[in-house]
Symmetry: C2
Subunit: 417 residues, 2 copies
């Protein structure tokens, strides 16, 4: 069969949609040519307006929750949970489904007792209440936050047959707060103050050294997330947002900003969040999350259940270095690629949604997405990643994901060698 | 005092922030120069990762909820609740706080039993399951939805001393779904099919006539809202999103799209959602929500509690006709205006966040915001609105809001004549 060009592909898709809806209607259960068996809600009164002062999802969506991997950590107090990306329709991650990662459990911080100390090599040390911080000039920006261990289980081989568990240590939200630069300007930094150590107020006192140049660029002391106060799991009442950098440097439950001349080389940047290389040396400070993309439909959790015909491939792409420039999708395991459509808005260090019309002929297929960001960086294959990193690292797995579609419509996680 | 230009104003603001933080520190309680009295969360373990598969807000935010006006409706089953805009940090409205309006309560629709019928003057009537609808090419876009009765209580005079209750019948979300045009193309419309009647499956069978030209433009059959399935109060599992138009035409719990030659003139476009004019005639089909803005800080719920000094004025603006072009803020009841800063992204028929540095001298003030959209439309005063509409209409109150700041820092809702 001659490969259709992109315009033809779309027309084919639209026409095929019509045909296949009719075809699948015959096969699907319940039969869509019949009215619903139960529509009692059309003949009765529903719930009153005072039933839910703070709303909740439908009871039919109770399976859409964060999940964790039982064997990943010896304790649920220093563990991670994963966003159900297979159920995320757009670029915004619901606050209730935003992935979690913490080192001593979620603390319950009283905002009235909250203090932020700014200390070290500053001209004027500060001790600020939350109300005071909220008086400064503010910004509101949509950014993703991703754990560098996202995809860690997939380094040696395809291991978990789940989009949620292979890619779900990421979320994207509108963060509102004060630029870190504003508070550092207020304290006054010395010319040789080139590093900042944010510390969390959780039991783990999470801390990471950050270079001043990033702190003065786009970091946010955020109190707001997607229309409300930060969630407890995300650092209520105040967290650091370090756009495009590893999740762990986005310190939560913030209590202190220490300013200094050199990095501190804390436990969290030696035993954790550094990579032991083949020669015995440790590679640290790999802050930036390189460009990555993944197809969210179809995926292991969302197979092609309605038989051959028209579907839409959907996915998410992002880059810690800037904006998504384009996403290419392969239907044959990376031999040929087609340019996907990107939904607006396309924002800096933010998820971007992509789609591609897909006529599935009912045969097995290997589908992939590959993002290119506006620095020209191209998402690598797992083979390319293995060449540099070997097969057994923990972090930085931003490789192209391959989903294998079976003739049954089921979808498997596979790695191509 | 010479009025500072904008650049000076900001410098003044930044400098003032520093000074006033120190000044207010002496006045504020608890004193910010002291460490917190309780920081037990720093010395203990928190909640484990499996405690909240679906997350919830902090217990300290329990007062941030939707509210209703007890005397507005004789029953909670045909009523409205209001978004707490005073606690919305950015442009995204939290799903749990998104305003509600319905006519026979919130139905509990089973997505497996859901059907959408497309009927009337079409070439091929359709009866579609939700799974089938979700196969079509999709889009994801951020739009506001506002009830035309938002501000209704304020027509005759300033009545409710609350941002939430005067402006909270609005929310803004990322909506994901299929363009209505895609489904109408699938059914095939006749050249003289100029109207569509969407009908809800709630007990009220809510329906509104929509002109075909809008249906083929940017309307969405949406199943996704801010990272998850639609909430029940927002029409789970499928609603119509009619960007920039009155909330009531964004029909929820959708069950049918009827195509015809003329509008249906339903109950909801005669007794409701039309405006009785002075000459006894009824004005209907006033679909578009004209440009509107409001200052969300300070406001009656969020007074200036920390004494004179630097604050940031914050607010939200939107237009049903396109994008926000600029927002001007007055500190003297509309005599002089300054241009506010707009946060990105600035999107079509979407909330836009604005800010202005504000040095409060401790004296009474009258603050206002005024939006201009990219069609050149300027938000009117209540006096201008009264000239056309009189003092006693229900809908279309998009007038400039005046907040009166008292010497105490308290903020009141007032109307300037």
């Amino acid at each position: 069969m001659t490969k259709p060009n992109r315009r033809d592909m779309f027309k084919l898709g639209a026409a095929a949609g019509a045909t296949m809806i009719a075809a699948s209607a015959r096969a699907a259960s319940p039969a869509p040519t019949a009215p619903p068996a139960d529509n009692s809600w059309s003949n009765s009164l529903g719930a009153p307006v005072d039933a839910r002062p703070y709303g909740q999802p439908s009871k039919y969506e109770s399976s859409v929750v964060r999940r964790y991997i039982p064997w990943l950590s010896p304790t649920r107090l220093a563990d991670a949970s994963f966003t159900p990306l297979q159920d995320q329709p757009g670029i915004i991650t619901s606050n209730g489904l935003f992935f979690e990662r913490y080192h001593s459990g979620v603390p319950t911080v009283d905002p009235k007792e909250f203090r932020l100390m700014v200390s070290g090599r500053v001209k004027k040390p500060l001790l600020l209440t939350l109300d005071q911080i909220m008086r400064y000039p503010s910004v509101s920006r949509i950014h993703f936050i991703e754990c560098p261990a996202n995809g860690a289980t997939e380094w040696p081989a395809a291991q978990l047959n789940s989009l949620q568990l292979t890619h779900g240590m990421i979320g994207c939200a509108e963060w509102t707060g004060v630029l870190l630069k504003t508070i550092l300007d207020e304290a006054g930094i010395h010319p040789d103050s080139r590093w900042v150590l944010p510390t969390g107020s959780d039991g783990a006192h999470m801390d990471r050294s950050l270079p001043m140049v990033k702190c003065l660029d786009d970091c946010i002391l955020a109190w707001g997330q997607n229309g409300e106060a930060l969630r407890p799991e995300q650092g209520y009442p105040l967290r650091l947002v370090v756009p495009g950098w590893q999740g762990n440097v986005n310190v939560k439950w913030l209590r202190q900003l220490q300013v200094g001349r050199e990095p501190w080389i804390t436990r969290e940047e030696t035993s954790e969040y550094s990579e032991l290389l083949g020669d015995g040396k440790s590679l640290g400070f790999t802050w930036v999350m390189d460009a990555k993309s993944v197809i969210t439909f179809p995926c292991p959790e969302k197979p092609l259940t309605q038989g051959p015909g028209f579907y839409e491939i959907r996915g998410l792409a992002w880059s810690g270095r800037g904006k998504v420039k384009y996403v290419d999708v392969s239907l044959d395991g990376g031999v040929n690629f087609q340019r996907a459509k990107l939904d607006n808005p396309i924002l800096d260090k933010c998820m971007t949604r992509f789609t591609l019309p897909y006529w599935w002929d009912g045969k097995p297929a290997l589908i992939q997405s590959r993002v290119t960001d506006d620095t020209g960086y191209v998402q690598p294959t797992i083979v390319q990643k293995h060449k540099f990193w070997g097969h057994d690292p923990v972090y930085e797995n931003n490789s192209i994901q391959t989903w294998q579609i079976l003739a049954s419509g089921e979808v498997n996680n596979v790695q191509l060698s």
